[in-house]
């Protein structure tokens, strides 16, 4: 082989090896056994992050000057479900947020009743799983106090948010879930105001949840009901959320 031939051969060999590796990664991506191995990192990440950060450590809060111009709406931005449209038509007058599941005292609140409760206002950063960030000023009711009022039973492990929107018109209603630690975090609020105005439809009217130490897809919009459950296995795809059922991590702390 001449020098040039050898060079060409090495280039082609490197190209073929690269293609083989990439093809291999694609094949592994579709293999559930490989998926299990890759998934193991999620628990490791969650455990490490819980070890390295205090339980109730606060996410950074910002000033009015840092607020993004136009908080980018993402996911569902204008739900077309009939039940939701009916509420929009009456200005959410008949909206009731229901607390249920594994609680001793189920109850529900109208929007006015929710607004009348002690609130928390926070200017926080919203990080989308896609990579972009926006800062908004949120006002809402801390979820922890509402859970205390419902008297969560000892068996309950997760808080499930039931939503009015379908991201995929042929799919299930959006839902999300968090553990009780995040539910009781002081910055976890049921927000009804964004930047000093009622939450717009595109950002989740009338109520969305803020979970400031996780990514955007955890922060369900258009929340209708909040259920306490022992296990997520029997809800929809069993992974604890709409995007989780599509393969995204349940723990979205990174």
């Amino acid at each position: 082989m001449s020098r040039n031939e050898r060079r060409r051969f090495m280039r082609q060999a490197a190209g073929a090896a690269g293609a083989l590796l990439l093809g291999g990664c694609d094949a592994l991506s579709r293999d559930p056994r490989a998926g299990k191995v890759l998934d193991s990192a999620e628990n490791l990440t969650r455990a490490a992050q819980h070890l390295l950060t205090p339980k109730m450590a606060l996410a950074p809060e910002y000033t009015e000057a840092d607020i993004s111009h136009g908080f980018k709406p993402n996911g569902s931005t204008d739900p077309q479900e009939a039940a939701y449209r009916a509420m929009v038509d009456t200005g959410f007058r008949d909206y009731r947020l229901a607390f249920g599941g594994l609680v001793a005292k189920p109850f529900s609140l109208s929007l006015d009743e929710l607004r009348a409760l002690p609130s928390r206002t926070q200017i926080t950063r919203h990080d989308c799983v896609e990579g972009w960030s926006a800062i908004g000023k949120w006002k809402g009711v801390p979820l922890g106090g509402l859970l205390d009022r419902a008297e969560v039973s000892a068996a309950a492990r997760y808080v499930v948010f039931r939503c009015a929107d379908k991201y995929d018109p042929d799919g299930p209603l959006y839902y999300e879930s968090i553990d009780l630690e995040d539910a009781h975090h002081p910055q976890t609020i049921l927000a009804y105001d964004l930047n000093d105005a009622p939450l717009p439809i595109s950002n989740g009217a009338p109520v969305r949840v803020r979970i400031e130490r996780q990514l955007g897809y955890k922060m369900a919009k258009y929340i209708m009901a909040i259920d306490l459950v022992e296990s997520l296995d029997t809800i929809e795809g069993g992974k604890g959320g709409y995007w989780e059922d599509q393969g995204y991590e349940w723990y979205a702390g990174i």
Binding site: L22, L38, P60, S68, K72, G131, W132, A134, W243
Partner: protein, 291 residues
């Protein structure tokens, strides 16, 4: 130079052909950690590009000012309906159709940040790319910690990586030698040269920890304790941009690293990182001079 294809000549016998001896250059742990790192970096770089593709733009500051990206890979339609890929770097646009912004997916030109042959997985699939990225990030971190521990506790750092006073004095000459592709011969080839030492030190002890730190600073949970890092670099989007830039430095290092392997005797270099054994040629001239 004697023609290697010719039969032994009198001259060869008289002056003796090049002498060579084999040294044990890389210990087993170093070789293992090197190859684990190759695997981890390969997956991290390409799954990273797939993650980037979910929102193919970089910003400076805490938030994304969508009108003012530092870097954006996008696509637009020309008046005659043709799709063009465009790379915008701080306001300057370049046509990069076919590679960046728009490239072929199953034979059809589509809007896409990086092309399918540079991403894991190939097709648009953010959830899966994140799984690959975070799994191999753990491998990269644990392997990196093992390397740093091994180097500092054992003799590797002190003996092989730390530049000596002679090294520092010869840095100018080393730069010229590298530029002219002149490589150390004989006994000098047994050691890392000063530029090589500095490159390894910067990559392993500066860029490695920094890219991990920037990755962690992007995590909303870790931001509860890494707020100072975000403040230092200007915000979360800055951290994301720096994470990307350091990855580009890694690619640059990789290219130079592979180039040096090729020009300084690929077979010998590759054997040394596989088996540990490295052959040093002691040229006739050298032996004569050293007498």
């Amino acid at each position: 130079m004697p023609d290697p294809n010719s039969s032994d000549t009198l001259a060869d016998v008289r002056f003796r052909p090049d002498q060579s001896r084999t040294i044990y250059r890389h210990t087993l742990p170093i070789r293992l950690m090197h190859w684990i790192n190759v695997l981890a970096m390969f997956v991290l770089l390409l799954s990273g590009l797939q993650i980037f593709n979910a929102h193919p733009a970089l910003y400076w500051g805490n938030t994304s000012d969508f009108d003012r990206p530092v870097l954006a890979l996008g696509a637009f339609q020309t008046p005659d309906g043709e799709l063009r890929g465009q790379t915008t770097i701080v306001g300057h646009a370049f046509d990069t159709t076919g590679v960046l912004g728009a490239s072929k997916v199953n034979g059809e030109l589509q809007s896409r940040g990086f092309p399918t042959w540079l991403t894991i997985p190939g097709s648009q699939w953010l959830a899966m790319a994140r799984r690959w990225h975070f799994f191999f990030a753990w491998l990269f971190v644990l392997n990196g910690l093992a390397y740093v521990g091994y180097s500092l506790i054992g003799p590797h750092f002190r003996r092989d990586l730390k530049p000596t006073r002679t090294d520092w004095r010869g840095i100018g000459r080393s730069i010229i030698d590298h530029a002219l592709l002149r490589h150390p011969k004989g006994e000098a080839a047994a050691r890392y040269n000063v530029l090589q030492k500095l490159a390894y030190l910067i990559v392993a002890f500066v860029l490695g920890p920094l890219i991990v730190l920037m990755g962690l600073a992007m995590s909303p949970r870790m931001a509860t304790v890494l707020g100072w890092v975000l403040d230092l670099v200007g915000g979360r989007q800055s951290a994301r941009t720096i994470h990307f830039i350091i990855a580009a430095f890694f690619v640059a290092f990789l290219l130079v690293h592979l180039f040096e392997v090729l020009v300084s005797g690929a077979a010998n270099e590759i054997r040394s990182i596989v088996t540990g054994r490295f052959r040093i040629k002691v040229a006739k001239g050298d032996t004569d001079e050293s007498k």
